[in-house]
C-alpha cells in the first residue's frame, strides 16, 4: 500500500448551463434545426463553463484534509468526482482503499420503512454487509438516541431525528477513506458534539478523511491541511490555519444600497490591530474598525452602527456612534466621513462577521448596509466555548469527606428526584 490514499491530477470538469433538451419532443426539432444551422453549435460552446480547473492535490494515509471555499467554488463537484458519482472531463483521480462518502446522510432512507429497516437499507447503500450491520445494530441505535421510535416509519420522524439516524448509520461504516460534506451540522448541540467525537475517533483509527465545510471552526479543529477553491481554481493549499486565514481575507461582504443612487454610502471598512489590517485575533485583544462614508447629496442626522454576528448569524454585539454619545452628524454633498471603533474582543474561539450600517434614527431610514463587512477569526488559548470569553480561572478546588447523615440525606434527595421524573 502506498503512502498516498487519495490523489487528483489536473482534474477539469465542464458543465453546460442554460437549456438542456430533456425531452425527445424538444430534442428532435432541435436536432433537425441544428443540421441546417451550424451556428448554433458554436453558441453551445459559449454556454459551457468549467466547474473545476486544473485541480491537483494529494492526501496522505491517515491525514484529515479540508476543502473550503464560497458557494459555487467547486467543492461539491470535487467531492462528487472523488466519490465517483461524476467523471472528470479531463485529468485523473486515484483512490486507494475502501471509500465511503457521507454526502447526504439520509439520502438512502425510505419514508415508509421503519427506523430499523432503514438502518439496514442505508447501511447496505453505504457499503456495509448485512452481517456487519447486524453486529453494530445496537450501537447504531444507541448512538442515534431514538431507541423508542426505532420501529416507527421514518416519515413520522422530525427532521432532527431523521438526520440523527442517518448520521448514526454513516458514522458506523468503517472506511479507509472517508469523504464528509457538511454532515456535522445536524441535530442539537449535544448530538453535534457526539458526531465530532466520533469523527475524531475515526481519524484516530487511521482513516483518511476528506472534509468539506463552510464551518471553518470544524475544519480548523479536524484538518491538518486544507485547500481553498475559488471559481473552480486552486487558490491556496497548505496547513489548515494558513488556508483559513487566506479564505477570511478574501471574502468581502455585500452592499445593500446601489452605491450610485444612495445619497450616502459606505466606501470602506477595514478591521485592523496596532500593526495593520488583519483577520485573526487573540481573545481579549484590541481591534479597530475604520469606516469611511461618502455623501452624494446633503444628509442630516446620520449615525454609523456596528453589528457583530457569529457564523450562525446570531447577533453578538451592536452599538452605534450616536449611542456611544457622539450625537448625529450631517454631511454636505461631496463630503466624506471617517470614524474608527475601538473594540476589545472578549469573545470565545470562533468566527465573527462585523457589519456596518449608515442610518438616521428618528425617521428609521437606512442609507447603506455592508453585511458582512469583514470576517474575523478569534482564537483563544483556553478551551472555552460559547460567545463570550469571561476569562475564567479555577481558584479553588478540593475534595472533602462527607458525614454519614449528610450522605443519607443526599441519597434520599436523589431517590425522590427520580420518583418525580418517572411520574
Amino acid at each position: 500500500m502506498s503512502d498516498v490514499a487519495l490523489r487528483m491530477e489536473h482534474v477539469y470538469k465542464k458543465f453546460r448551463k442554460g437549456e438542456i433538451y430533456n425531452s425527445l419532443r424538444d430534442l428532435l426539432p432541435a436536432l433537425t434545426g441544428r443540421m441546417f444551422q451550424q451556428r448554433e453549435l458554436r453558441e453551445d460552446d459559449q454556454r459551457e463553463f468549467w466547474a473545476l480547473q486544473d485541480l491537483s492535490f494529494e492526501v496522505k494515509r491517515g491525514e484529515a484534509f479540508g476543502i473550503i471555499g464560497q458557494n459555487g467554488a467547486g467543492k461539491s463537484t470535487a467531492l462528487k468526482i472523488l466519490s465517483r458519482i461524476m467523471k472528470p472531463t479531463k485529468g485523473c483521480m486515484v483512490v486507494d482503499g475502501r471509500l465511503s462518502a457521507l454526502i447526504e446522510v439520509s439520502a438512502g432512507f425510505h419514508q415508509d420503512l421503519t427506523g430499523r429497516e432503514n438502518i439496514f437499507l442505508h447501511g447496505t447503500i453505504l457499503g456495509m454487509t448485512k452481517r456487519e450491520i447486524e453486529s453494530k445494530l445496537d450501537q447504531i441505535i444507541a448512538f442515534s438516541g431514538i431507541e423508542e421510535f426505532i420501529d416507527t416509519p421514518v416519515k413520522r420522524y422530525s427532521t432532527g431525528m431523521f438526520a440523527r439516524l442517518g448520521f448514526s448509520v454513516a458514522a458506523h461504516v468503517d472506511p479507509e477513506v472517508l469523504i464528509v460534506d457538511e454532515v456535522l451540522s445536524v441535530g442539537d448541540y449535544v448530538f453535534q458534539r457526539k458526531c465530532v467525537d466520533r469523527m475524531k475517533e475515526v481519524i484516530r483509527g487511521g482513516a483518511t478523511v476528506l472534509f468539506v465545510s463552510h464551518n471553518l471552526r470544524s475544519v480548523a479543529e479536524f484538518c491538518q491541511r486544507a485547500l481553498l477553491l475559488d471559481k473552480g481554481r486552486t487558490v491556496r493549499i497548505g496547513p489548515a490555519q494558513e488556508v483559513i486565514a487566506a479564505y477570511l481575507n478574501r471574502s468581502g461582504g455585500e452592499h445593500s444600497a446601489d452605491t450610485n443612487s444612495s445619497p450616502v454610502s459606505i466606501s470602506k471598512v477595514t478591521v485592523r490591530n496596532e500593526s495593520g489590517e488583519r483577520s485573526q485575533f487573540q481573545s481579549g485583544q484590541k481591534a479597530w474598525i475604520d469606516v469611511e462614508l461618502i455623501a452624494r447629496s446633503r444628509c442630516t442626522k446620520l449615525s454609523v452602527s456596528l453589528y457583530i454576528r457569529d457564523e450562525y448569524c446570531t447577533l453578538v454585539f451592536n452599538t452605534s456612534t450616536e449611542r456611544l454619545g457622539h450625537g448625529n452628524f450631517t454631511l454636505e454633498e461631496g463630503e466624506a466621513f471617517l470614524c474608527t471603533f475601538e473594540l476589545q474582543l472578549n469573545m470565545a474561539t470562533g468566527i465573527f462577521h462585523p457589519s456596518v450600517l449608515v442610518n438616521r434614527y428618528d425617521i428609521q431610514r437606512e442609507y447603506d448596509r455592508w453585511e458582512p463587512a469583514a470576517t474575523i477569526y478569534v482564537s483563544s488559548p483556553d478551551d472555552v466555548r460559547g460567545f463570550v470569553h469571561c476569562f475564567p480561572r479555577v481558584v479553588r478546588q478540593e475534595i472533602r469527606a462527607v458525614s454519614e447523615a449528610n450522605l443519607a440525606g443526599a441519597t434520599r434527595r436523589v431517590a425522590s428526584g427520580e420518583a418525580c421524573r418517572s411520574e
Binding site: S23, L24, R25, S83, G108, I125
Partner: protein
C-alpha cells in the same frame, strides 16, 4: 465489461436490499396487501375470457377450459413484463437522491424493479395454480419448460428495463411513450388470442419476442405440448441480445446520470 460485472457482484447485497425495499414498500402502501399482486392479473384474465368468449360466439366455437387456462397462463407473465418495465422506467427518477449522492452500480435499480415484479409474479402464480387445479387442467412432463421460459422473460424484461430507465432519465417523455406502448402492446402480443387463430400469418406475431415465450408457456401448461423450439431459440437470443445491449447502453450513459438529473 468484466470489471463492471465483478462490481455488480460485489454489490449483490444491495440489489437484494433494494428489491426487499421495493417489495416491502409496495405491500405496505396498499391497503390490500398481497391482493395487489393478484388484482392486475385477475383483471387481465377476466378481460381475456370476455374476448375469447366473444370470439367463440362469432366463430360459433364453444369456449373450452383449455382456452381459459391458456389465457390465464399467458396473462401472468404479461402482467409481469408490463410491471417490470413500468417500474424500471421510473426506478432511477424515483431514486434521484441516491443516483446523485452515492456511488454504486446504478443498474441495481432497474434490476431490483424487475425482481420485485418477479416476486409479484410468484404470488400471483400461487393463485393461478389453485385456479388451474379447479378447472382440472392436469399436468405433464412438459412443465419442466416453465423455469426456462420464465428466465427468458426475466432476461428480456431486465434488458428493456435498463434501456428505458437510462433513457427516461435524459428524456422525460420516454416515460409517457413507454406507457403508451405498454397499454397497446397487448394487441400485438398473443395474450388474449392464440397465434394459431391467424393461420399462416401467425408467424408475424411471433416476431414479437414476447410472443413465443407466452405461446410456449401456454403450450406446456394448458395444452401439454412442447414449445416450438426454433421460436423459443429466437426469443432467447433476442432476450440475451436485449440484456447485453441494455447493459452496455446503461453503462455507457451511467457517468452522466448525476449531471442530468
Amino acid at each position: 465489461m468484466k470489471e463492471e460485472l465483478q462490481e455488480l457482484y460485489k454489490y449483490r447485497g444491495l440489489l437484494y436490499m433494494i428489491t426487499y425495499r421495493d417489495i416491502k414498500v409496495r405491500y405496505k402502501q396498499s391497503v390490500m396487501g398481497f391482493l395487489w399482486a393478484i388484482l392486475m392479473p385477475v383483471l387481465i384474465v377476466m378481460s381475456g375470457i370476455i374476448v375469447r368468449y366473444a370470439y367463440g360466439l362469432a366463430a360459433h366455437v364453444p369456449l373450452r377450459t383449455a382456452d381459459i387456462a391458456s389465457v390465464a397462463v399467458k396473462s401472468l407473465p404479461w402482467a409481469f413484463l408490463v410491471s417490470s418495465i413500468r417500474f424500471s422506467c421510473n426506478s432511477l427518477i424515483n431514486n434521484q437522491n441516491l443516483v446523485t449522492k452515492i456511488y454504486f452500480p446504478k443498474e441495481i435499480f432497474p434490476m431490483a424493479a424487475v425482481l420485485a415484479s418477479l416476486f409479484d409474479l410468484f404470488v400471483a402464480s400461487g393463485a393461478l395454480l389453485i385456479f388451474l387445479l379447479l378447472i382440472h387442467t392436469g399436468w405433464s412432463a412438459y412443465l419442466i419448460w416453465i423455469p426456462l421460459l420464465v428466465v427468458t422473460m426475466v432476461l428480456l424484461a431486465t434488458g428493456i428495463g435498463m434501456i428505458v430507465a437510462a433513457a427516461s432519465l435524459f428524456f422525460r417523455d420516454v416515460k409517457f411513450i413507454v406507457e403508451v406502448l405498454l397499454t397497446f402492446g397487448i394487441f400485438f402480443t398473443p395474450v388474449f388470442f392464440e397465434v394459431g387463430m391467424f393461420g399462416d400469418k401467425g408467424k408475424w406475431l411471433l416476431l414479437n419476442p414476447v410472443g413465443p415465450i407466452l405461446e410456449g408457456l401456454s403450450a406446456c401448461i394448458a395444452r401439454h405440448q412442447s414449445p416450438d423450439l426454433s421460436w423459443f431459440a429466437y426469443s432467447l437470443g433476442f432476450a440475451l441480445f436485449a440484456l447485453l445491449g441494455g447493459f452496455v447502453f446503461f453503462k455507457h450513459l451511467e457517468p452522466a446520470f448525476a449531471e442530468s438529473v
